[in-house]
């Protein structure tokens, strides 16, 4: 459970971009299935952490795209969320994972001056 630290990292990233102390209305994230971040746990603590830092109590919305995977057996490209499952075409686990580690702040909605 490291989502408290992740929440702090998110807010540091946002403050770097929009200026320290900017009050936030909404924060939109992109979280991949290999990021090691639990969206539920993050939603649970995020608003609290933002309030503690004096940034308001923003709503958190999270996009959770599947990972993009390339099958090294039959060459097909597919989307993966469950890494127990192999290629949908040939079943192979021989694969290259192209994306899925991302944890990115996409956009925010800030209080207008």
């Amino acid at each position: 459970m490291h989502e408290f630290s992740i929440a702090e990292n998110i807010l540091e990233t946002i403050e770097t971009q929009v200026g320290p102390g900017t009050r936030l209305h909404e924060v939109h994230l992109i979280v991949g299935p290999l990021s090691g971040v639990s969206a539920d746990a993050l939603e649970f603590c995020f608003s609290e952490v933002a309030q503690t830092r004096g940034l308001g109590s923003p709503t958190l919305t999270i996009d959770q795209p599947a990972a993009r995977v390339h099958c090294l057996e039959c060459g097909v490209h597919y989307e993966g969320r469950d890494f127990y499952e192999g290629c949908p075409e040939c079943g192979s686990l021989h694969r290259e994972i192209l994306t899925g580690h991302e944890c990115t702040v996409d956009w925010v909605r800030v209080e207008e001056d």
Binding site: M1, H2, S5, I6, N9, I10, E12, T13, I14, T16, Q17, V18, L24, H25, E26, L29, P33, L34, S35, G36, V37, P58, T59, T61, L72, F83, Y84, G86, L93, H94, R95, E96, I97, G100, H101, E102, C103, T104, V105, D106, W107, V108, R109, V110, E111, E112
Partner: protein
């Protein structure tokens, strides 16, 4: 749903600040020709026992940073095995971050030119440390035989990122139903370029081969 306010594109990785500090750590260590590895595995998988065995191989050419929630026990063990060690106590945090390592580096004597290898033993955990770059050259994942051969695909955020996959406590394999080939194949399925070693820090099996691999990596990078 909040509708008010001005929308601003950010498009920045959440780890931006951590990654910048990690890059600085890496630059500092590379300037001294030190290969740095980030050792990650469950509590009790044998990370510290492996470090003790490595300390006997490398002596003062190795330096360790130990991450734990509490106590200096691990640093004391590694020091007794013959190398310099610094303990980070995270007081509840389940992982190390680049800032904690930057502070630890200030406490270590890396000036002598004798140090070739820094081993950072992360907090025992298969999830939380995986996303934090500390400034290492290699992430090393440890899975020990008693944990079961099915764990790799249960913790893909870690095992998809490791450069080296260690199967530890291999001396227990005859007593337990652990299929090392399965665990290694599943790690390769997340990461086709991973390099594997099977070892036992207790009996010494495989430890020398692993240490020679690290020596080769250090030489290849820093001559």
């Amino acid at each position: 749903m909040s509708e008010g306010g001005k929308k601003v594109a950010v498009k920045s990785p959440v780890m931006l600040k951590n990654d910048a500090i990690a890059a600085e750590n890496r630059r500092l260590l590379e300037g001294k020709g030190i290969l740095t590895v980030n050792l990650i595995g469950s509590p009790g998988c044998g990370k510290t026992t492996l470090l003790e065995a490595m300390a006997k191989h490398f002596g003062e050419a190795m330096v360790a940073i130990e991450g734990d929630l509490q106590t200096r026990r691990d640093a004391e063990r590694v020091e007794q095995a013959g190398c310099q060690a610094y303990q980070i106590e995270t007081h509840g945090r389940c992982h190390l971050d680049a800032q904690a390592v930057a502070e630890a580096l200030e406490h270590l004597d890396l000036s002598a030119g004798t140090c070739k290898l820094l081993v950072i033993e992360n907090v025992g955990n298969l999830v939380c440390p995986s996303g934090y770059d500390l400034g290492e050259h290699l992430k090393i994942g440890v899975l020990s035989v008693p944990e079961g051969d099915d764990k790799v695909l249960k913790y893909p955020s870690l095992f998809s990122r490791v450069a080296v996959f260690l199967v530890g406590k291999i001396d227990l394999a005859p007593h337990l139903d652990f299929d090392a080939a399965r665990a290694e194949a599943e790690c390769r399925s997340l990461n086709p370029n991973v390099i594997g070693f099977r070892l036992s820090a207790k009996t010494g099996e495989g430890v020398a081969a692993f240490c020679r691999f690290l020596e080769g990596e250090q030489t290849a990078r820093f001559g």
